[in-house]
Symmetry: C2
Subunit: 251 residues, 2 copies
């Protein structure tokens, strides 16, 4: 299946191109890692999606099964994982979603033993940060961008110590203004959080999924709410765009 | 965006190819309609997915919003609609899922006014039939393949009478044996239902989505449960394969 697989993958990547603009921004933002081959999916990989409500996407939390639609919710994690399982029927992949609505990075830390380390993932994808900023802005939380960055760094260090060969995927947190939740006052302070996430990705040579940059291109084609219905959470086409961007980063 | 759109679409179609076998069976099974151009999606289209639990896929049924992840559940309808919305941000599409778990064709008829005609769809996709057979086999229902075919024909006639220019998509109902629900005794009698569905598709010059034939190829690459977890309902990779097959049929 080698040739066909390659053909499929190159087709998948081609389909990133909602427009040549989005296609090229994805291509230019997705970094080529030195010494890190693309298409990192291996046989028997355990792949974990972690994060907040954007990852959670209404998943059931009693059974929390692998490779199960109900345990995956209806967001980008479902779309990404469904694509991976379809593409690799011969690889015995095991995929989990453990995103929880409302989480900030310290809340990931609090449940990390059970919801990450015990699962022993080979590939860990994290999307976290919007609540760290948003809850602070709304006076519900007294953290700061420094707390976010330091907590995030500690979390990754702890993870690598427990699972040395793990591949880490850091997803850029994102927002779109001119929406029911997000106005222009979010943009500049939130950039600090985005820069911290990028710094962590660089420090640990992690994969970096440039969601903000892709959504910034997407709004040239349809209003912000078309992609993120409230400026924070993905609508259906936004989730599809996220899945394609994630896949383009790793494959 | 014309050229890029074409490029995207051809990439999407390429990605049907889990393997050259599945790719070619999809291509050979998806019929070219005389005088009917492919890529049938037009601006302002209202697209309705109808059916049983496979379409329902745990959708919420209070608000039943268009273009909304929760109202779409987590099955092939979500994956297909997300792809369509991503691909056509400029077309103002409105997509609905109104599948209901357990439905047989007469139960679609009972709720057709509210759950189809009132929505005034331009494109109607129906996947129905497995319960018409399965519930009868289990002694829960006294229908027959003749009842299925006649009810289905009446439903389509009624729909075309109400919405003359509607484009109809008939999805082939499917099963996979060697699973927790389905054994070999299902296969031959269920073929009668599949033939009836195909007959209806031909009579009304509808699009025909050959799900059974695609799943028959898929099981050459992973066990039946990998695609349909109980032989009837789609697992994540099965839902992805269904979405690609549906898209290949219409685009």
């Amino acid at each position: 299946m080698g040739f066909t697989r390659r053909k499929f993958l190159s087709s998948s990547i081609g389909s990133i191109g909602l427009s040549s603009m989005i296609g090229s921004i994805v291509s230019s933002c997705v970094e080529e890692k030195k010494g890190k081959k693309k298409s990192v999916i291996s046989s028997n990989d355990i792949i974990l999606f972690q994060g907040d409500s954007i990852t959670d996407a209404g998943r059931e939390k009693e059974l929390e099964l692998s490779n199960n639609s109900n345990s995956f919710g209806n967001g980008y994690a479902l779309l990404t994982a469904s694509n991976l399982l379809y593409t690799h029927p011969d690889k015995n992949l095991k995929l989990f979603n453990r995103g929880i609505s409302g989480n900030k990075v310290f809340e990931l830390s609090n449940r990390w033993e059970k919801d990450c380390l015990e699962l022993k993932p080979n590939i860990l994808s994290i999307l976290i940060g919007v609540n760290d900023y948003w809850h602070k802005k709304d006076g519900l939380y007294d953290g700061s961008v420094e707390v976010y960055e330091n907590d995030y760094r500690k979390l990754i260090k702890r993870t690598i110590k427990a699972i040395p060969n793990i591949k880490i995927v850091i997803c850029q947190p994102f927002i779109l203004p001119d929406t029911s939740v997000v106005d222009d006052s979010f943009v500049e302070p939130f950039k600090e959080y985005q820069l911290s996430a990028k710094k962590i990705a660089d420090e640990f040579n992690a994969f970096w999924v440039p969601f903000q940059e892709v959504f910034d291109e997407a709004v040239k084609h349809a209003p912000a709410e078309y992609w993120l219905y409230d400026g924070v959470h993905a609508a259906m086409p936004g989730a599809h765009l996220m899945a394609l961007t994630w896949l383009k980063t790793l494959i």
